[in-house]
């Protein structure tokens, strides 16, 4: 595959639809996400990326299952840890890498940065940098679907730590009271920034919190892309059918620290290794290989394809110019009137 123009909607939508159709595409996308996240860390090391970034190695199955189980016409509100979700929903690697680098090829022209990825073509609202802020916003997107009577679904993706903030509580209650087509997808990776979940959260099984909203809950192995797909698909179908919102807790893990500077000294010895033994990519590759669904290729061949794809994307991103001064002023206010 060669790098495609980030502005071509069909390409991003196409990338999204692939996931619904083909298990192999899901494996490829998980590998792509892993490679892009690793690449972002390299680019940091080279001092090419300003500020901070939050990578999602280890959580690829959740992101890819989300892309596979939803439609480009659905709406997703994700967090600053959103590179994987953005790629899964269809955004091209050069748009993600370009944005993280602050280049014009980035999905918002390089003026947002790592924490703010977006593309209306596949329903991704600008990812949220304020913890919990995206939860009620997703409820609003669900309200729009319900009000305009089309069968869209809004998905809010957030972490375990975010379930301690007011916006989470208000958002879930509102979605339940109005019986809206919303799915609340919690990536429980056991830490909020540097704090282990038990030090900040009265219940470590987030799914329990559905009780406060009389909401259906599901707890899933976040490292198993098929299990995640099943769970999200059920919740999305229920929502589309008028069955109301669902809270899904994905038990997962982030391999890297919270953000670039974090070496994660707070993790108990062996915890990371234990989780890596259940790596979502290896796990799924083995499964597909066993079922002969690798399309005749070896895992290495697939990895190499993805690597060259991501290499080309990174090259295009690095080659792209930085945002222009005119851009600073371009989108502060929308043109008035209807």
């Amino acid at each position: 595959m060669s790098v495609t123009n980030a502005t071509d909607e069909n390409v991003t939508v196409q990338r999204r639809l692939e996931l619904a159709e083909s298990p192999l595409a899901r494996l490829q996308r998980m590998i792509e996400i892993r490679l892009v996240e690793d690449r972002i860390q390299d680019l940091f090391a080279q001092g090419l990326i300003p500020g901070t970034t939050h990578t999602s190695q280890g959580q690829e199955a959740v992101a890819v299952a989300l892309g596979a189980a939803t439609r480009p016409t659905d709406i997703v509100c994700c967090t600053y840890r959103g590179h994987g979700v953005a790629l899964s929903l269809g955004i091209l690697p050069e748009s993600v890498l370009g944005e993280v680098l602050g280049r014009q090829i980035g999905c918002m022209g390089g003026l947002g940065g790592s924490m703010h990825l977006s593309d209306p073509a596949i329903g991704l609202l600008p990812t949220f940098a304020i913890v919990g802020a995206g939860v009620p916003v997703a409820v609003g997107a669900a309200l729009q679907f319900a009000t305009l009577k089309n069968d869209g679904v809004a998905v809010s993706v957030f972490g375990d730590g975010s379930t301690n903030i007011g916006g989470f509580h208000e958002g879930l209650n509102l979605a339940a009271v109005w019986n809206l087509p919303a799915v609340f997808l919690c990536e429980n990776n056991l830490y909020g920034e540097y704090s282990p979940i038990a030090t900040t959260t009265a219940v470590t099984d987030i799914a329990l919190r559905a009780t406060s909203y009389g909401m259906v809950a599901d707890t899933v192995d976040g490292q198993d892309v098929d299990a995640m797909y099943e769970s999200i698909r059920n919740a999305v179908d229920r929502a589309r059918g008028g069955g109301g919102p669902t809270l899904i807790e994905a038990k997962t893990y982030r391999y890297a620290g919270h953000s670039r500077s974090d070496k994660a000294p707070y993790r108990p010895d062996g915890e990371l290794d234990a989780w890596m033994k259940r790596d979502p990519i290896d796990f799924y590759a083995t499964k597909l290989a066993a079922n002969g669904e690798l399309d005749g290729r070896t895992l290495d061949e697939i990895r190499d394809e993805q690597r060259s794809f991501v290499d080309d994307a990174a090259a295009a991103a690095v080659a792209s110019p930085s945002g222009s001064i005119a851009q600073m002023f371009a989108h502060v206010l929308a043109p008035s009137g209807h």
Binding site: M108, P126, A133, P136, V137, L143, L174, A334, G337
Partner: protein
């Protein structure tokens, strides 16, 4: 047509809802109860429960929902019962709604309105009586307007609903029951960012906003001087051209504000005009404001908080007599 300000607001919302099925209304007790201040009378009956909704006491929840609904195709009109309540949901307006257009490189709009009752005079105490323009003023991506009665409420509300940006609209609570002539219709829509000159005058320019517009008019009517009284109407954007031009013409600017002295909205106007009209000013810009104290409970004291027409007259008299800034009434206490 004679109507109360709350009726004019209701009518403005209804007129927009008629024309545009994307316009929806939600907030606490705005549907079945038709609004704590009766600003949505009949809307539920006319437009139904899908478009007019009561919310839980969840300002972050329903303002966040307005952001998401606005970005994906609706045009929500939300109500914050007392502007102070925005404090529990501030992030959704100034950090989410205001920045989503920018953060999508212009590909998402956020056409939402946050209506809020504001101001003193009704004895609600210090956590329910402020105007708080200062909370929003200066936020990139946000618009801010203040009604001064039924007519401007109608025109600003319709303009706010049609705007493609998040707009905060403050409604002086003490004026909900006051009647004015309003001609419902397109012609009465007021472009955000424009001010209105209500009296011609030569000695001084008096800029007011919301409730103080009536204070300024009463003062001008009673005074020996002749002032151009301007209803600013919008704060973001605000009508720099008109205010600067008038200040240059009269050579004097007096700003009548309901808020405390420090950090009030008038500092933005005074600061800008003082520089833009520097050579033309005969006297320093004067801000007639409340003292730097919480809004007191108790009728007499609360009345003292809001500048009175008499006080404005006295301040302007002194300004004209001395061409230097008069001391505020509370000097002895501060």
């Amino acid at each position: 047509m004679r109507m109360r300000m709350n009726q004019a607001i209701t009518r403005a919302i209804a007129d927009e809802m008629e024309q545009d099925p994307r316009v929806v209304v939600f907030g606490e007790d705005v549907a079945v109860a038709e609004g704590p201040f009766k600003t949505s009378e009949g809307l539920l009956t006319t437009f139904g429960p899908d478009r007019v909704r009561d919310t839980p006491i969840s300002e972050t929840g329903f303002l966040g929902a307005a952001v998401g609904a606005a970005m994906t195709g609706l045009r929500p009109v939300t109500e914050i019962m007392f502007i102070e309540f925005l404090g529990v949901a501030f992030d959704q307006v100034v950090t989410e709604a205001a920045l989503m257009h920018y953060l999508s490189a212009g590909r998402f709009n956020v056409p939402m309105v946050v209506r809020a009752s504001a101001g003193s005079g009704l004895g609600f105490g210090c956590q329910h009586s402020q105007t708080l323009e200062r909370w929003m003023l200066g936020t990139p991506g946000l618009k801010l307007a203040v009604a001064s009665g039924a007519r401007t409420a109608y025109g600003l509300t319709r303009a706010a609903i049609r705007d493609n940006n998040p707009v905060v609209l403050l409604e002086p609570r003490a004026l909900y029951g006051e009647r004015e002539d309003v001609e419902p219709g397109e012609a009465s829509i007021i472009e955000l960012g424009t001010s209105e000159s209500l009296r011609d005058g030569t000695d001084v320019t008096v800029v007011a906003l919301g409730q103080t517009v009536h204070v300024a008019l009463a003062a001008e009517a009673a005074a020996s001087w002749s002032g151009e009284v301007i209803d600013l109407r919008s704060l973001m954007p605000w009508d720099k051209e008109a205010i600067v031009a008038s200040a240059k013409r009269t050579g004097r600017l007096v700003i009548v504000e309901e808020n405390q002295f420090t950090g009030g909205w008038g500092t933005e106007i005074a600061s800008f005009v003082s520089s833009a009209a520097f050579g033309d000013m005969k006297a320093p810009v004067v801000r007639v404001t409340a003292p730097d104290v919480p809004v007191p409970f108790g009728q007499e004291l609360e009345k003292r908080f809001l500048p009175s027409p008499e006080y404005v007259v006295q301040q302007v008299d002194e300004l004209l007599a001395t061409n230097s800034a008069p001391a505020p009434w509370w000097k002895e206490f501060a």
